[in-house]
Symmetry: C2
Subunit: 216 residues, 2 copies
């Protein structure tokens, strides 16, 4: 793999990694950090497509499609592993295992987007929030980023709102309700879920589903 790796890149918090509309000669893998993908519509509204965590692939779209259809930004300082567009072809030619992993990642991501779609399309406000919190907590825990049940959640309420398709105000009020009922505590950039089970049930999530991801 080292052969295809050009180098590492560290991006400071708040900076854009890839811009919607941009072409990119490179794509990345996240080594450390957290970020988000988002898309800006013509009407000025913003949709957060997904939250980006270590192990995620970023920018393959631009390499393959020619142009990014969404932006990716770092929410905290983030370190990326850089690969070259040209290397991608080498990869497919000489590293069937690795290219398979790549497709694997794509398929899992696609799968997750399908679930997100179902959430936006068919669940009400509290279910959406519960769903997002449980999934985030789950993924971050699986990455070993939990410290006594608390995982880092460096995003703003506005980001979550844009992710689940709710207004900031309503997101805030829904979060407040969850906090009061002792199910979820998101504060100071950290999240813990004392009522993980209840939240999962509320959102209609099957907890026994450990969606694994391969590393490149």
């Amino acid at each position: 793999m080292e052969r295809f790796k050009i180098g590492e890149l560290t991006i400071e918090a708040g900076r854009t990694i890839l811009m919607q509309g941009a072409q990119s000669p490179q794509f990345y893998t996240v080594l450390r950090g957290q970020g988000l993908r988002h898309k800006t519509l013509e009407n000025g509204r913003r949709q957060v497509i997904s939250f980006v965590l270590p192990g995620d692939l970023v920018g393959l779209q631009a390499v393959v499609t020619g142009e990014m259809q969404h932006s990716v930004e770092a929410s905290v300082e983030t370190t990326l592993c850089v690969f070259d567009r040209a290397g991608l072809w080498d990869l497919f030619s000489n590293q069937p295992k690795r290219s398979y992993s790549l497709t694997w990642l794509s398929a899992v991501e696609e799968n997750f987007l399908g679930e997100t779609l179902a959430t936006l399309g068919q669940r009400d406000a509290s279910q959406r929030i519960a769903w997002a919190l449980v999934r985030l907590h789950e993924r971050l825990s699986a990455l070993g980023m939990a410290r006594s049940g608390r995982v880092p959640l460096p995003w703003r309420q506005q980001d979550l709102a844009d992710a689940v398709g709710l207004s900031l105000v309503h997101t805030n009020k829904t979060l407040a309700r969850l906090r009061e009922s002792g199910l979820a505590d998101w504060s100071g950039g950290g999240l813990s879920l004392p009522g993980r089970r209840e939240l999962a049930e509320m959102a209609g999530i099957d907890l026994e589903y450990p969606t694994q991801r391969p590393l490149l």
Copy 2:
């Protein structure tokens, strides 16, 4: 490619191709026909993930992830090209070009899901409907399935409603408004868009974006 192709499979209208929760030793490519992917939630509600058209890949998810997270059904008689799970590995080992196409397809699909997400999250009812109609018309036309501007749309209003996250009733009323204003005419299983430009503008779609797809 023929080496990996096991055979062809024809499914009659209304039948399920792949069931949510099922494992599948095969995956498919659509040769002819139309269908839809949908996901059923615990609360009984249904989300249509996407509409399936010729050239689409179906069931790669089950091969890669182990289990389908959504169902796929044929809306009209549909012919599939069948590939074997084992063949997939051969493909990656010996056909870099083809495996690249596979990833390509995945990436494009992922991209499209992102746009769908933005639609459900950030657009109102008429924008969603307009978006869906324009996109469907666009893809079907690109596939050469248009006859004097009219493309086959064999789905029910309920399917469209479940795709864009609206109720059947509201979808119906929104469609009625579009019909009265002469922008779109969906009837008798066919769709024509006299007001394609206006609809695209209403939905905030960039029409100059011909999302191409490779064939396997």
